[in-house]
């Protein structure tokens, strides 16, 4: 399991990119992160939601209660226009960062 700092730094990017194409609720986000990372990454409630609230407060994502037939209502988060810009910028800097790391440390980029 990677270092905690790693996880924290990447978490914003992960959440934003998962919300890029459709709104999702917190549990779904966590499941996606877990499955797409093949079980490497998983967030605790105690860190996932504070993170979501922080992104929401910054205006990058927008949470809304949505009801679906036969279900309890859930809070769905979607990317705001601001969030889209941030996502693009973070992607660029992560790419640059990862390339720099691999050039120096000889790590193969995933």
């Amino acid at each position: 399991m990677p270092d905690r700092e790693w996880k924290k730094g990447s978490a914003e990017l992960l959440l934003l990119s998962l919300l890029e194409h459709e709104p999702r609720h917190g549990y779904e986000l966590n499941k996606l992160i877990e499955s797409r990372s093949r079980g490497v990454l998983r967030y605790h409630v105690a860190s996932l939601y504070p993170l979501l609230y922080r992104l929401e407060r910054r205006g990058w994502i927008d949470g809304r209660w949505v009801e679906k037939a036969g279900q309890r209502r859930r809070r769905y988060y979607r990317l705001t226009p601001d969030g889209k810009r941030v996502l693009a910028a973070q992607r660029r800097s992560w790419t640059a960062f990862a390339q720099a790391i691999s050039r120096i440390a000889g790590v193969q980029h995933a």
Binding site: G26, Y27, H44, V45, L48, P50, Y53, R54, R75
Partner: protein
């Protein structure tokens, strides 16, 4: 499913989140834990294990709390969140509710400002008017046991004499016989000139029976009151001074007691000084002993004041006085041939009522008006709160879900309402403080005791009471509504501003009530304004512009003979006539609006009053030849007075139209003869002229009989100099004073004023009441307009989908416009109908304030209804316009 909330709430508690936010987080996190738990179970974990693993995510460390603390709103001022836990102690709840209420109000500064301002106007107006009512009508007079002080007088409405004062002999008899009064005093008010130590000055002097001060229960500040023997003929002249005169004229020098001053031209020893605030009869500056003539029956001039024995009621005293008067008259059949038991009518009233006089009705009307304004304001706020309650129904529902009882929520909302009311009251008190100062400055409006108006503890108690009532009024409906919120509905609607049927009916009801009350106020104001208009149109019988009057009083001590008086006034008139700018000048013993009407009986030659018919009363005054030109009263028929109408010429008289029409309808009154006494020694006076009816007491007085006699044939010592000028009459004042002083430097010139001031003064109270009532009515209409606008706006917002669909299905915008307007106007019309009925019933209480209009005046009623209808239409138009712009596409997409 396991219950996570307790654990989660424990983690969130230190953050002091707002209840709404906390509830949201609780919901979201417990859902997550539910999902996680189910996932673990489906993987084959045992129930207890799944629960433990899921919970570990939150409870392993204090991470959740720490993380959230960094993100969520910096902790609000207090950490208590409403609705958490179950019932705790009551006091703690109240403080919690209060703090939460303050926070809620601060979160919506716009709403709070509008509400507080509305309330401030309503509560401020109520406080200001009540402080006047309290000081003028309610507060006891500043005399010990003042509720036992009573005035009484005779009354003869059939002679149009509502107030008949008493003659000496009757008072002496009543004084001896009465068993209901502990003590009884008589007084007669007049004036006297005060000379020496400064300019000559006319002071209000009252002659009082010696135990007057004992009856009032007030001891002099220095010296003494009067002793019994000072009420008998031939004693040394003594006087008691009012505090005001003593300070102004004698520099508050206590050694003046025992020294002589010059009063009415006579040396008079000051025996006492009254304390400040002793003001009875109103305005009295000097009191002198009244010498009664135990046989006197000719002058009916005495006013009375008595102190009832403890436990005696005013009605008992009234009955006793009437009975004793019957007995008095029966004992003198020669003088009162018609007297029989039960014929004398007396009126006894608490002294306070007499002091307050006619101010009672208008003040109570104003109090009613401000109460209506506050009701309308409260309805507005109730509507605002109902709308907010609908918007907050999710908040309430969430609170319910997490354990708050409906009572708890209602209490919270009521606390918020009372908080609003309290803030409104605080601002209202400021307004009232300012308003009271403004009112107190309006001294020319002749409301007694107005100068004593202030905000005292009783007024503050009233304000607190009104505030609580208002807070409950507008807070109760929303609170009850909110506590009955349907959880499922509220949560499902997801915070949409929905309005349920019940609350819409309530809101509509408020609008109806507002329009009804506004109409009543506006009708009242309209009737008063029309009355005022009619009053201004009244022809007073004289032309007030460019007329200066001044009162001159010749002391009988110096001018003992009529000849001296004639000579003085002849020289004065000549001297004033020569002043540049003076067009004409004359004298009269009374000028219009100077108060007092010398009355006499009228006997017309050849027209005997039928037996049993009351002998007609006529107002009698004298005038010099120049008077009619100076005051601007034309002689309609015959001639005015001439210098030749003197003491040696045959007696002549000018009567007014009313007399001429009554006694010689269609005929010629000129040359006919009248006299004012049955006494055969009284000479007949020949009518030489007819004058128009002149309003002497007020513009709305009824027609009176009036006669004028030539000054030279009916000399009076006190007269008003009447000057018509070509220039601003007030600029003449110093010159006139100088001319009088040239003739007699000790002569006071008083009551110097223009006739325009006199007429305006007679209308001042009315003007004030009109202005206030109109102001309140306009405020009411404004509030009602805001009210209907708000309700229609909300209704349109709630129905935007419906309008969109209507438009999509082919309705023209005009149809939608009509639909909304009709809905609003129906409400307004219902209100107007109720209001018209209410106004028709209530306007009768305007009583004597009306002049020239009937209480149910169709012009006013319909006009006001039309104005309010237009206001309603205008207020509904904006929301209606918005409805026509509903987007059909959006509407379809939303559904």
């Amino acid at each position: 499913m396991p219950e996570w909330r307790a654990e989660l709430r424990r983690r969130l508690a230190p953050l002091g989140l707002s209840p709404v936010r906390e509830a949201e987080i609780l919901e979201e996190l417990s859902q997550h834990l539910d999902d996680r738990y189910q996932e673990l179970r489906s993987r084959g974990e045992a129930d207890a294990d799944a629960r433990r693993i899921a919970l570990a995510e939150v409870s392993e460390s204090d991470r959740l709390t720490r993380e959230l603390a960094a993100i969520e709103a910096p902790a609000p001022p207090v950490s208590a969140a409403i609705g958490q836990g179950t019932e705790r102690g009551g006091g703690g709840h109240f403080l919690q509710d209060l703090r939460y209420g303050i926070r809620m109000l601060r979160m919506r500064p716009g709403f709070t400002a509008i509400t507080v301002l509305t309330l401030a106007l309503g509560i401020g107006a109520n406080t200001a008017i009540f402080s006047v009512v309290n000081s003028v009508l309610l507060r006891p007079l500043p005399y010990p046991d003042s509720e036992r002080l009573v005035s009484f007088w005779g009354t003869a409405p059939e002679k149009r004499l509502p107030v008949v004062n008493l003659p000496d002999a009757l008072f002496v008899f009543l004084h001896e016989q009465s068993k209901t009064f502990e003590k009884l005093a008589a007084y007669a008010s007049g004036g006297a000139s005060l000379t020496g130590s400064g300019d000559p000055e006319r002071v209000n002097a009252s002659a009082v029976t010696p135990d007057f001060f004992t009856v009032m229960g007030v001891k002099p500040l220095f010296g003494r009151g009067f002793v019994a023997e000072e009420g008998t003929e031939g004693k040394a002249r003594v006087a008691v001074l009012a505090h005001s005169v003593w300070r102004r004229r004698f520099g508050s020098d206590a050694s003046i007691v025992g020294k002589p001053i010059t009063l009415g031209g006579n040396p008079t020893v000051v025996v006492g000084i009254m304390p400040p605030g002793f003001d009875f009869p109103e305005g009295a500056e000097v009191w002198v002993p009244l010498v009664l003539n135990a046989e006197g029956l000719d002058n009916w001039y005495l006013s009375t004041v008595g102190r009832l024995k403890p436990g005696i009621r005013v009605q008992d005293a009234q009955r006793e006085m009437a009975g004793l008067t019957d007995e008095f008259m029966l004992r003198q059949p020669a003088r009162f041939p018609d007297a029989k038991r039960g014929s004398a009518r007396m009126v006894a009233k608490p002294l306070r009522d007499e002091v307050v006089g006619e101010a009672r009705t208008p003040l109570l009307i104003l109090l009613g008006a401000v109460a209506l304004v506050l009701l309308i304001a409260s309805a507005n706020i109730a509507n605002l709160l109902l709308a907010r309650a609908a918007a907050r129904s999710r908040e309430m529902a969430v609170r319910c879900c997490i354990g708050a009882s409906p009572r708890r929520i209602a209490a919270q909302l009521l606390t918020e309402s009372l908080l609003l009311a309290g803030a409104g009251a605080a601002a209202g008190l400021l307004l009232a403080f300012w308003g009271v100062r403004l009112l107190r400055g309006l001294s020319e409006s002749r409301i007694p005791r107005l100068d004593q108006v202030r905000l005292d503890p009783i007024v503050l108690m009233f304000t607190v009471g009104v505030t609580v009532v208002a807070g409950l009024l507008f807070g109760l409906a929303p609170a009850i509504r909110a506590s009955r919120v349907d959880l499922q509905d509220a949560l499902r609607e997801g915070g949409r501003a929905g309005t349920s049927g019940a609350s819409r009916r309530l809101t509509n009801g408020f609008v109806v009530v507002q329009f009804a009350l506004s109409l009543i106020l506006l009708v009242g104001a309209g009737l008063l304004l029309r009355s005022f208009r009619h009053l201004l149109d009244v022809d007073p019988g004289f032309r007030a512009e460019n007329v200066l009057v001044a009162r001159i009083q010749l002391p009988e001590s110096k001018y003992a003979e009529e000849a001296q008086v004639r000579a003085f006034y002849a020289r004065l008139l000549e001297s004033v006539r020569a002043v540049p700018g003076v067009l004409s000048v004359g004298l009269n013993q009374r000028v219009p609006f100077s108060g007092g009407n010398p009355q006499q009986n009228l006997y017309v030659e050849g027209q005997q009053a039928k037996p049993g018919e009351p002998i007609p009363v006529i107002n009698s005054r004298n005038a010099t030849p120049g008077y009619f030109a100076a005051i601007g009263t034309p002689i309609l028929k015959g001639r005015g007075f001439e210098d030749s109408d003197n003491e040696t010429a045959p007696p002549v008289v000018i009567v007014d139209e009313t007399v001429a029409q009554r006694y010689w309808p269609g005929g010629d009154p000129l040359g006919k003869r009248i006299r004012t006494s049955l006494d055969t020694s009284a000479r007949w006076m020949t009518i030489v002229g007819v004058a128009p009816n002149v309003k002497h007491a007020s513009l709305n007085e009824q027609l009176n009989f009036e006669l004028y006699r030539p000054f030279l044939q009916s000399v009076t010592w006190v007269n008003y100099l009447v000057i018509r000028s070509a220039i601003d009459p007030e600029t003449l004042t110093p010159t006139i004073r100088r001319r009088v002083a040239d003739l007699d430097p000790n002569l006071p010139v008083s009551e110097v004023h223009t006739m325009e001031q006199a007429v305006a003064g007679s209308l001042a109270t009315r003007r004030l009441i009109n202005a206030l009532l109109t102001g309140f009515a306009v405020l009411a209409v404004l509030l009602a307009a805001i009210g209907i606008y708000g309700v229609m706006s909300l209704s349109v917002t709630g129905r935007l989908n419906e309008f969109g669909i209507r438009l999509a299905l082919g309705a023209a915008p005009a149809d939608v416009l009509r639909l909304v307007l009709r809905q609003g106007l129906l409400l307004a019309l219902a209100g107007l109908a109720v209001g018209l009925a209410g106004a028709a019933w209530l306007t009768r209480f305007l009583g004597t304030l009306l002049f020239g209009v009937r209480p149910v005046d169709p012009v006013t009623f319909l006009g006001v209804a039309a104005v309010l209808g237009a206001v309603a239409a205008a207020a509904c138009y904006l929301p209606a316009r918005r409805a026509t712009r509903a987007d059909p596409i959006a509407a379809l997409r939303r559904d």
